[in-house]
Symmetry: C2
Subunit: 342 residues, 2 copies
């Protein structure tokens, strides 16, 4: 993180939001037109068909192309972890980054299987955010700087971005962001994360409630919610999503922490996640409430709650299948197949 060099600001991020491209309706219409000719009953591929429409419209090209997917995992540490809200110590964040680099994590196996380009981005693991029950988690320079850092994940040549995170304490931060953005009770947004229960879960809920109460004057501005209650990796995710939109790279979001970061953009501009899918429904209970709040329908529902982009990488296989069918299938005319009898 080179925050001094970039000196990014929220105003710059707002300017990018205002400049977001819209979907390419011509590309979408070409998908729809070809779908109607392919050797299957109309609509029989269900969501695979609408996924292809979505993908082509955001990529802005026809035929759509999905040959160089990138999986980007952002890692950071959280001051609020000092409140004892996680089952694991903060040291695990760096150890898991080393595990990603050594190829030993779940996301490594999923990327190998999918032939996806895995990139892991560390955000100053030895400089966690402030504990948000005591202070704003970050300054604007830190938060916008982390967003700018996240934008680096969007490079020329990639045609899809799967996003995820690693950060001990970050489901606490995600719950605080959601509670701050969408209201309700702290308990509506808090779950077991890496596996806490009983008194620790209760403490986690209190921490989220305390943090949101402390910063309640800031809740009208989603960027300030991110700054006061978020984490560096969550800011980086928001930046990556925004950069992908500008570059016309479709995005698959992972689970709770990743979607919470995305929700900041959604609350700043309701169009901001139109180029994003939610890859899976996390077992973290707040995720179902969150995807409803941002109007998304996850692709998969497999009871996963790992993070590290694992659900997004798995959903990549479904999207790829959708595009393969669309591009590779024969038409009724090519295959000389009789049409409907009536």
């Amino acid at each position: 993180m080179a925050e001094e060099d970039t000196a990014a600001t929220f105003d710059e991020m707002r300017a990018l939001l205002a400049a977001m491209p819209e979907p390419d309706e011509a590309a979408r219409e070409k998908v729809v037109a070809r779908e109607s000719l392919l050797t299957k009953p109309a609509g029989a591929l269900g969501r695979l068909e609408t996924l292809t429409e979505w993908f082509a419209s955001w990529q802005g090209r026809y035929p759509p192309q999905l040959e160089h997917p990138r999986v980007a995992v952002f890692a950071a540490n959280h001051g609020v972890a000092g409140q004892g809200v996680s089952a694991y110590p903060s040291s695990v964040t760096a150890q898991m980054v080393a595990n990603f680099q050594a190829g030993g994590a779940a996301i490594n196996q999923l990327c190998l299987m999918q032939d996806a380009d895995l990139r892991v981005y560390e955000l100053a693991l030895d400089h966690p955010t402030q504990d948000f029950t005591q202070a704003p988690a970050a300054s604007e320079t830190e938060c916008a700087g982390a967003m700018a850092y996240g934008m680096m994940a969007v490079e020329d040549g990639i045609d899809l971005l799967c996003l995820g995170e690693m950060g001990i304490g970050n489901t606490t931060s995600a719950a605080a962001i959601c509670h701050g953005l969408f209201g309700g009770l702290a308990a509506d947004w808090v779950g077991s994360g890496t596996g806490v229960k009983g008194e620790v879960l209760q403490r986690k809920t209190e921490v989220v409630a305390e943090g949101v109460a402390r910063h309640k004057k800031m809740l009208d501005d989603p960027f300030e919610v991110l700054r006061h209650l978020g984490g560096h990796e969550l800011s980086a995710l928001a930046g990556a999503i925004l950069a992908a939109r500008i570059a016309r790279v479709p995005v698959i979001l992972d689970g709770y922490a990743c979607t919470a970061a995305a929700a900041v953009l959604h609350q700043a501009d309701h169009r901001a996640l139109d180029h994003c899918l939610v890859g899976h429904l996390s077992a973290e209970p707040g995720h179902g409430r969150l995807v409803e709040a941002i109007g998304k329908q996850p692709i998969l529902d497999l009871g996963m709650r790992l993070g590290e982009a694992s659900g997004a990488a798995l959903a990549l296989g479904v999207l790829r299948a959708a595009i393969s069918c669309h591009v590779g299938m024969a038409t009724f005319q090519q295959a000389r197949i009789d049409g409907p009898a009536n």
Copy 2:
């Protein structure tokens, strides 16, 4: 189909059912033991973990191996199609088989993407079953012969079998089988299939009710339900499922017609589908009721209703991911990662 040569009988099928192997609990326990050591919170891969347990226990080996998946699609024609229950003429069955052979169908693209071995088995397309509103769909020799034919899909060297079908009229047959096996109303089990609605859908429902009423004395014996109301491809599917069980090859079932064929075995012996997953929940409305009746939870829910093993082949990607994670991930000890804080 060489029914004279095999002269298979239902009694032979019942003998195979009685000889079904049970899961290998030792293999399952090895999966559970290793899962607890891998670099993730306990249970964080959700259903991927239970899928791996299931797979290893049925394959009866540790570590589990998924390198040679086969996708088998059975095709046949149905006398009941003459009742005008489908949107397409019966000629489409053979035309789609040619499309499979030419590589132009959805299942071809999915198998290419998954590196799966696609085999298409035709069951005498010019000899459809009898119209079950007029006569039993098949003789025992034909029905058991088709089951024996289906067993050919289970060959040495394959370590997973994905099953599907192609047959104009076969959702009508599937609905009749389900109505015959599980009761309720004909309308509970009838859906739009390839896309019928209005009067045609009403006619389809009447045909199912008529068929089941005609053969109501046979409904106590699931094999007789298959013979009177089924189709050759559905019998072949039932045979393939049974052969896979004997050979310890785990199975992924596709949608409505495929699961209806499987349900025949389930009603003959409730353990008969323990080695099978249901790959996806079909958009055909009877499928949800059917998977509940046989106690299965589909892996995917993508609104698909194509058949030809498309949903099973897509679910193969999820199973493969599960096994890749289990086999490839590092343990906490290998990666030198701190355990839970408390």
